[in-house]
């Protein structure tokens, strides 16, 4: 149903590689694997992979080394981090360093597939964007970047601190563009706690996939934008203003803000 993508799976456990391979084969992707950081770097240097799924903790190094390697070689592979050691720090750090997604182990087939789907879409959009820029076509922006004073977590979500100290959070336009079409949004209730780097809302797409939005900050929800439930298009139409998701009292914004990317940075 989708076109085949070259995927590299890096993990020190064979069972994970087998599982990922099997899952990817459901959607006809070509899967290659590496059992450690060093052999992974060898593979990357030999051929191009559109998507790399990488474990953070391996005996001969960590996933961040792969990120560094990609950056050094100027390779634009989309990297999905996965780990059993799912700390908030790991998640946030992965996204800050340039990973496109973070999935905590153990994951279900659907979780992995929707992540791969988004990574694929992301690569497509990026490629078309570069093509457009190369053609010097300024009107051809495919997605809207964050407004000024907004901060974002990877390309997943944004936050904006208002004058009263409360924080608005929402999904980034690029994230929404990687989703087929928004069919439904599952929101948390007011008064619930959210944690930075952990899923805070689930978007159900037209093709029946579930996409987790990772929260950009930790805090307590004080207001939920219920308009999104009534009019799901809102989030796609105006993701940065009318399409906000929650208003939050942040728990430790001074610390968390350091792990977010400023609006004007195109680095992903």
């Amino acid at each position: 149903m989708t076109k085949s993508t070259k995927i590299l799976v890096i993990d020190d456990e064979q069972v994970i590689i087998d599982a990922v391979t099997k899952i990817c084969s459901l959607e006809n992707h070509q899967v290659d694997f590496a059992l450690g950081v060093r052999s992974a770097i060898d593979k990357i240097s030999q051929s191009y992979y559109s998507i790399i799924i990488c474990d953070i903790m391996m005996p001969d190094g960590d996933g961040f080394q792969i990120l560094d390697e990609l950056r050094n070689r100027n390779v634009d592979s989309a990297l999905i981090m996965m780990t059993g050691y799912s700390t908030v720090e790991n998640a946030v750090n992965s996204l800050y360093q340039g990973a496109v997604d973070f999935i905590p182990k153990p994951f279900t087939v659907d979780e992995l597939l929707s992540s791969i789907f988004r990574a694929n879409k992301y690569q497509e959009i990026k490629k078309r964007q570069t093509d457009l820029s190369a053609q010097n076509n300024p009107s051809g922006f495919l997605y809207v970047s964050c407004p000024a004073k907004y901060l974002r977590l990877g390309y997943s979500s944004w936050m904006f601190q208002e004058n009263d100290g409360s924080v608005l959070i929402g999904a980034c336009d690029l994230f929404l563009k990687t989703i087929d079409s928004v069919r439904d949004i599952e929101l948390l209730a007011s008064e619930e706690e959210i944690v930075q780097g952990v899923s805070c809302a689930v978007i159900k797409s037209g093709d029946d996939r579930a996409h987790n939005i990772l929260s950009p900050v930790s805090g307590r929800i004080i207001e939920v934008n219920h308009n999104l439930n009534l009019n799901t298009n809102m989030i796609e139409k105006d993701p940065y203003f009318e399409g906000w998701i929650y208003r939050v009292i942040p728990a430790d914004i001074a610390y968390e803000i350091k792990t977010l990317v400023p609006y004007n940075s195109d680095r992903l």
């Binding site: 899952i23 706690e193 805090g219």
Partner: protein, 620 residues
């Protein structure tokens, strides 16, 4: 033995009584013997007068034989050694000892000396002057001699014999010598009596003092010494039995109090340590489990996708996926526990949180016939806590209480109130700087888990770093070996060498220089630089007065916790519920309270119930 306080006290008392009784005995013996002697003197004098009187008539008649006979018969009495009459030139005329008759006595002899010591003989002398005590020779008994002068009378010169001229005043002397052997024996016997009395008195006094010193001083001091040694060896559970209502008893009580506080503090410290290592362990375990779990979850959910048209498989696979997802949640909660991430605090009403927790568990308790009573101070101020975590704390405590109560039914009581505790010994210095705004907090060096204050000490050609306790009032300062201060010692910021000593200010206790630290936004913290003094001052905190806490007491009428289990209940994996519990409940509670800078303590009596006391600071 000689250094023992009891021995020293007894020695001093014995020495004092020895001196007092000795002096008393000496004077007693002396006065006794002199009264004995004067008795004998009186007796001898009377005897002399009697002899003179009884021979007077014979002398008048010049009946010399009769006089001699009278003297002989008197001289035969056992105590009388000699009776003799001398004329004025010293010739012995009569004597009970016949050999001495007609012998001359030298005027310088002891019997004559009393009167003839002057050139002109005395005619009238007192009784004491007429008495003498002497020894015939070195080894003989003492002898008391008394002379009675025989005066000339009218009848003497008018008598027929005309033996004495009229102008003579003293015709001669009667000399009676009485042996003092018996008296001396009596005196010695008396001396012995007194010595024996003195010895018995000193010994019994010593024993009496020894008994009470042992009872009131030595034994309690021993007990205290033993206990301090036990504590020194790390046994903080040792308590001192009741030592009476005196100062030592009070010392014992305050010692018990101190060890109790100490063991509580150690428990808390131990607990944080254990939590940290458990956190690492749990994180490691979770990581290891997550990988195989990924295999199970992906393969089963993969199969679930592949067998969409086979309802029989679907049902079973759904169970596998569901249970694996449950395992994922369990591992996640284990990781959450291990991490015990910074609590997500917000302003909340503690009573409302408790009410919420009660609402969650009320039905369950009603089935078990357990009544829950909440007695709270109204309008408690709101407090900054993680409401969810606190609710978890209360629910866990209520569940524990209901488990302890069992099937019989009972009551759980919850009390909340506001209390004030002194900041001394609690407040922590988190930001300290030198005058040039260099941080003096050493994150590399921790005292009781908290980053210490650092100060460079320059003196004796050396530079050293001293670490000070960041908790105001605790003073567990870390000085290097050989730390010593004198007039030349300088205390400086390790980065810019700016001095940290306040000029013209010295410690009111010991006079040593006072170090001062600027605490950003919280005034100045001052501390004595000597390792011996414990003077410190933080006006900002002191002026803020007592620190406010909210105290929550939860007591149940359950089975209680045994003394042996009590110190272990906050340990992870310690459970008295057997297979039913994980042993993590109270450990999690402890961690949550610790993260809120609060404290949790437990008191319990087996068979009567358990009370948990939680204190949360009102301002963080």
């Amino acid at each position: 033995m000689f250094k023992q306080i009891g021995f020293r006290l007894i020695s001093v008392v014995a020495l004092a009584s020895l001196i007092i009784i000795g002096v008393f005995a000496y004077f007693n013996v002396k006065s006794q013997s002199s009264s004995f002697i004067s008795e004998v003197e009186r007796h001898a004098n009377q005897l002399g007068e009697t002899v003179v009187a009884s021979t007077r008539f014979d002398m008048m008649l010049n009946q010399r034989d009769r006089i001699q006979k009278t003297i002989n018969s008197i001289g035969k009495q056992p105590q009388i050694r000699d009776v003799r009459i001398m004329n004025k030139v010293g010739e012995i005329i009569y004597s009970s000892n016949p050999e001495n008759i007609n012998k001359m006595v030298d005027k310088r002899a002891e019997s004559c000396y009393a009167c003839h010591s002057e050139d002109q003989p005395l005619e009238q002398i007192s009784i004491t002057e007429r008495t003498r005590i002497f020894k015939i020779h070195q080894d003989s008994n003492r002898v008391l001699g008394i002379i009675t002068p025989i005066y000339n009378e009218q009848s003497c010169w008018q008598s027929d014999c005309h033996a004495h001229p009229e102008n003579q005043k003293v015709l001669g002397v009667l000399d009676v010598s009485i042996s003092l052997a018996e008296i001396d024996k009596a005196i010695i016997a008396r001396e012995w009596e007194i010595v024996i009395f003195a010895v018995i008195a000193i010994i019994s006094l010593g024993l009496l003092i020894a008994f009470f010193v042992r009872r009131w001083v030595s034994n309690p001091v021993h007990e205290l010494l033993n206990a301090t040694q036990q504590v020194g060896q790390g046994n903080l559970n040792c308590t001192i039995k009741y030592l009476g209502d005196n100062e030592i008893g009070m010392l014992g009580e305050s010692f018990n109090n101190m060890t109790k506080k100490l063991s509580e503090a150690r428990l808390q410290l131990f607990q944080s340590d254990k939590m940290a290592s458990l956190g690492r362990l749990a994180a490691g375990v979770a990581h290891e489990i997550n990988n195989p779990l990924t295999g199970v979850l992906t393969y089963s959910s993969f199969l679930l996708k592949r067998t969409k048209d086979n309802p029989e498989f679907q049902e079973d696979l759904k169970v596998i996926v569901r249970e694996t997802l449950r395992s994922r949640e369990i591992v996640k909660s284990l990781l959450d526990f291990a991490r015990q991430s910074v609590p997500k605090k917000g302003v909340a009403d503690i009573n409302a949180i408790i009410d919420k927790a009660i609402a969650v568990i009320e039905k369950q308790l009603a089935i078990k016939k357990i009544k829950i009573i909440k007695l709270s101070e109204n309008d408690l101020p709101k407090i900054t806590v993680d409401a969810n975590q606190m609710q978890q704390v209360f629910i866990n405590l209520f569940v524990n209480a209901s488990d302890a109560i069992g099937k019989e039914g009972g009551t759980i009581k919850v009390f909340t109130k506001q209390i004030s505790l002194s900041p001394f010994g609690i407040a922590q210095i988190k930001k300290a700087t030198c005058p040039k705004r260099h941080s003096l907090i050493d994150n590399e060096f921790k005292i009781d888990g908290l980053p210490a204050l650092k100060v460079k000490v320059i003196g004796h050609g050396e530079e050293n770093i001293v670490h000070l306790d960041p908790v105001y009032g605790k003073r567990r300062n870390q000085f290097y070996p050989g730390y010593k201060i004198d007039g030349d010692t300088k205390f400086a910021c390790p980065e810019c060498n700016n001095l940290l000593v306040q000029q013209d200010k010295t410690c009111p206790n010991c006079g040593a220089p006072v170090l001062s630290f600027e605490i950003s936004g919280q005034g100045v913290y001052e501390v004595c630089s000597s390792e011996k003094s414990d003077w410190e001052k933080w006006d900002f905190v002191d002026s803020a007065g007592l620190k406010e806490y909210i105290e929550i007491k939860i007591s149940d009428t359950g089975s209680g916790i045994s003394k042996a289990d009590l110190p272990k209940i906050f340990e992870p994996f310690f459970s008295t519920k057997g297979q039913k519990g994980t042993g993590l409940g109270l450990a999690v509670i402890w961690g949550i309270i610790d993260n809120h800078d609060g404290s949790i303590n437990v008191e319990s009596e087996e068979g009567k119930g358990t009370t948990f006391v939680i204190r949360l600071p009102l301002k963080q």
